[in-house]
């Protein structure tokens, strides 16, 4: 049964995490998590491709990470929107297999196929979409997806692309700490100044917000998009590997399965140390046993450098927000890594306040995304998020220097207008190089894209006047439009993203995923038709032993035999329409038999 109050189509909120992903929605009482098919709220962000091409996501893929590591990938979020040169450090620590043919967008090798990071993320998103569809019993096509606040333009664009490839219309990208503040504000506090400290699997964000009667105004944000629980795992793993090398005389690093088993043991130990003072990393593998005691004191000493790396961004954020530490009413802790006692202690020392840990740090971002989804669909009327852009936006000027157009921590949407002209008589093109970052020189910042102003009217040098508008939208993504000031005509702009997929590539991936989805759909229909055929064949088989069957005329019995044979003939064809046709035929010729049987049972 369907009740429609004229409400808009359902919009779900998705936390696409480095380690785990989850989806939530808004019901009448508030945001709720959508459980996965296996009953778990969290879907591990692991993707594995079976040799037959089947895609496995989540808990099942986490198992396959051990048995078929070369066909599996985790923490792919670290690669979103990044080039091959960017990830060299990452490659030393993570078993990413970069395909040799990678260009601007790197390609991951999984078995015999290659995938871009957005495609890997799309597998996870598609799983979450399916979970939601199974939960609601209706199609879901719209979503709000969260991203680390400190994600740059390319990383955001890659996330949006992933949504599109997964068949989701991404209505909005929301910053993770901001989303968390929405869930927190809904629950705890209407007014005040709040800091959100978000240490996840692979990213760190700090945001400071002013909450005022339903307005959530971000004052400043800072972070590190490559800092998180993963780094702690790698520390423990390295120590354990060294142990194994000296105890067993085995270099585990060339044995992917061994590494994954040991990594899992290290993670387990890490998680336990948040609750108990000591534990051990244990591995039984290929008939050998490894065990190392580790207590919290040693653990704290190991991870101190990582925890300290979060404090610099915190101080910068406080300064940029223009608040004093004692004006901050509360620090909300988000992300699984904030369960670590040393992290809590460091935050408490810096902010001189007890951190707020009442909310489930794994779920609060998804819940907040659902609230934002409610705001966009009109279900939530009284809340409004005013977020900022984390990085300054500038253009390259003479001498490789950056001229800043939009400063970091500007509330978005934010825009700036610049007028460009030509330097040579008759010049038809002007190239604008846009970068993101805080440094003075272009080479120290992140190249975002090159915009080519084309088909400029040929004029003497310096006469053409092209007004270019740089607009960062509410997703934190740059849009560029240009206008010829003399003619008032819209000026065409060609975008060459420095990192990231072109629109064409995304379209192609969407096409492929549709074809795949269509194929999946077709296979399901064939399977369903066969199940239906099984049912009717079994019924006919049973009826053949019934008195009513022998009361039929020979011709009638012959017709039944013929139709059953025909159904058996098409049974293995991959054509559900044909199977259904034959089922219908069997139905028709057995109508009288069925009626007679019914009469017979009544007597």
């Amino acid at each position: 049964m369907e009740i429609d109050f004229g409400a808009a189509e359902r919009v779900i909120g998705i936390d696409l995490g480095t380690t785990n992903s989850l989806a939530a929605f808004m019901d009448l009482t508030g945001p709720k998590i959508i459980p996965g098919a296996d009953g778990d709220n969290l879907v591990p962000s692991v993707v594995s491709i079976n040799p037959n091409g089947d895609v496995v996501v989540g808990n099942a893929a986490r198992e396959l990470l051990i048995t078929q590591p070369e066909r599996s990938v985790y923490s792919a979020k670290r690669l979103m929107g990044r080039g091959v040169d960017d990830v060299q450090e990452e490659l030393k620590l993570f078993p990413f297999h970069i395909a040799p043919a990678s260009e601007a967008v790197l390609q991951l090798q999984l078995g015999d196929r290659t995938y871009t990071p957005p495609e890997i993320s799309a597998f996870i998103l598609r799983q979450l979409k399916q979970n939601a569809e199974a939960y609601f019993g209706e199609p879901v096509s719209k979503a709000v997806i969260t991203v680390p606040a400190y994600f740059n333009d390319a990383q955001r664009q890659a996330t949006k692309d992933a949504g599109r490839i997964a068949g989701l219309e991404v209505l909005r990208l929301v910053n993770e700490p901001t989303a968390a503040s929405l869930a927190y504000g809904l629950d705890k506090r209407e007014n005040g100044i709040v800091a959100v400290y978000d240490l996840g699997g692979g990213t760190f964000d700090i945001s400071i917000l002013k909450l005022h009667d339903g307005i959530f105004e971000v004052l400043a944000t800072n972070g590190d998009t490559h800092l998180g629980g993963d780094d702690i795992d790698n520390l423990l793993l390295r120590i354990a590997m060294e142990d194994v090398a000296s105890e067993w005389g085995v270099d585990l690093s060339i044995d992917s399965e061994g590494v994954q088993r040991l990594r899992r043991a290290a993670i387990q130990a890490k998680e336990q140390l948040s609750f108990v003072p000591f534990t051990s990393i244990e591995l039984e593998y290929r008939g050998k046993k490894y065990q190392r005691q580790i207590n919290r004191e040693l653990f704290d000493k190991l991870i101190t450098p990582i925890v300290n790396r979060t404090l610099g961004p915190c101080r910068a954020c406080i300064q940029d927000a223009g608040v004093a530490v004692d004006q901050i009413d509360e620090v909300v802790m988000v992300g699984g890594s904030t369960r670590i006692p040393l992290v809590l202690a460091a935050v408490e020392a810096l902010f001189r306040a007890k951190p707020h840990t009442d909310l489930n740090p794994d779920e609060v971002v998804a819940l907040g995304a659902a609230v934002q989804a409610g705001i966009l669909s009109g279900e939530v009327q009284d809340k409004l998020l005013l977020d900022v852009t984390p990085l300054s936006l500038g253009i390259e000027i003479m001498g490789g220097v950056v001229s800043k157009l939009i400063h970091r921590n500007s509330t978005i949407p934010a825009s700036a207008t610049e007028t460009f002209t030509t330097g040579v008589d008759g010049q038809r093109n002007v190239l604008i190089h846009v970068v993101q970052g805080e440094r003075e020189l272009v080479k120290d910042n992140r190249s975002l894209a090159r915009f080519d102003l084309k088909d400029i009217d040929p004029l003497p040098a310096g006469l053409a006047r092209i007004e270019v508008r740089f607009l960062i939208d509410a997703n934190g993504i740059l849009n560029v439009t240009a206008r010829d000031v003399r003619t008032g005509k819209e000026q065409s702009v060609d975008v060459k993203p420095s990192y990231g997929l072109t629109d064409q590539q995304v379209e192609q991936m969407i096409q492929e995923s549709f074809e795949k989805a269509e194929q999946d759909f077709k296979e399901r229909q064939v399977r369903e038709a066969r199940v239906e055929a099984d049912t009717i064949l079994a019924a006919v088989e049973k009826a053949r032993r019934h008195d009513a069957y022998f009361e039929l005329m020979d011709a009638e019995r012959a017709a039944i035999d013929k139709s059953v044979n025909e159904l058996l003939l098409v049974y293995h064809a991959d054509d559900h329409i044909l199977i259904k046709d034959k089922i219908e035929q069997v139905n028709q010729v057995t109508l009288k038999l069925a009626e007679n049987m019914m009469k017979g049972t009544k007597i």
Binding site: A8, L171, R172, H212, D213, I215, E217, I375, L376, S377, G378, L384, L385, L386, S410, T411, I412, P413, A414, S415, L471, D473, A474
Partner: protein, 179 residues
């Protein structure tokens, strides 16, 4: 071009109530933010995007006294060139000369200049807060008189302020432990 004061519906002036500004900003944001137009036709969504980016720009400008003054000066036809801060205010000539020498020594690795720089940092910081006070009183004068002479003085003060701010930054940087 939208007039920022008109957009907020507040009187044109250099001293303004930040509370009122924030209240209006929140009201207008609730009205104009793209979130409110998600289910509207594309043309309305585009308009919301334009208006809210203007609103955010206006708030950023009016919230900050220096940016606010620069904006008003620009509207009144004064040139507000950032580059002007390179000209040393004459009354600071001697002090800046000595400071530059100390900064040179420091950069060359001679740390004996440190105490001198620390004193300079203190002096310039005091100077900065003096300038801020001057500005505030000039703001009040302008709001009362609407006099262009006062605006010219404000422009001079802004340049001076910018110059001192740069000095403070530089001294601060040279005193900070190198990373």
């Amino acid at each position: 071009m939208t007039d920022y004061f008109e957009l907020f519906g507040i009187p044109r002036g250099l001293n303004l109530s930040l509370d009122l500004l924030q209240q209006r900003y929140y009201e207008l944001s609730r009205e104009l933010h793209p979130d409110r137009f998600m289910r509207k036709p594309e043309s309305e969504r585009q308009r919301a995007l334009d208006l809210s980016s203007t609103l955010n720009d206006a708030y950023r400008t009016l919230k900050d006294p220096v940016k606010r003054a620069q904006y008003l000066l620009g509207q009144e036809g004064f040139e507000v060139a950032e580059q002007r801060s390179k000209d040393v205010p004459p009354e600071l000539l001697e002090e800046v000369f000595e400071l530059n020498m100390a900064l040179e020594e420091m950069r060359a690795g001679d740390h004996s200049a440190r105490p001198q720089l620390e004193t300079a940092e203190k002096n310039f910081t005091t100077m900065l807060s003096d300038v801020d006070q001057q500005m505030e009183s000039l703001f009040a004068q302008y709001d009362q008189s609407q006099s262009r002479d006062v605006l010219a003085q404000i422009r001079g003060t802004l340049n001076r302020r910018k110059y001192i701010l740069n000095l403070v930054d530089e001294v601060h940087k040279s005193l900070a432990p190198s990373p």
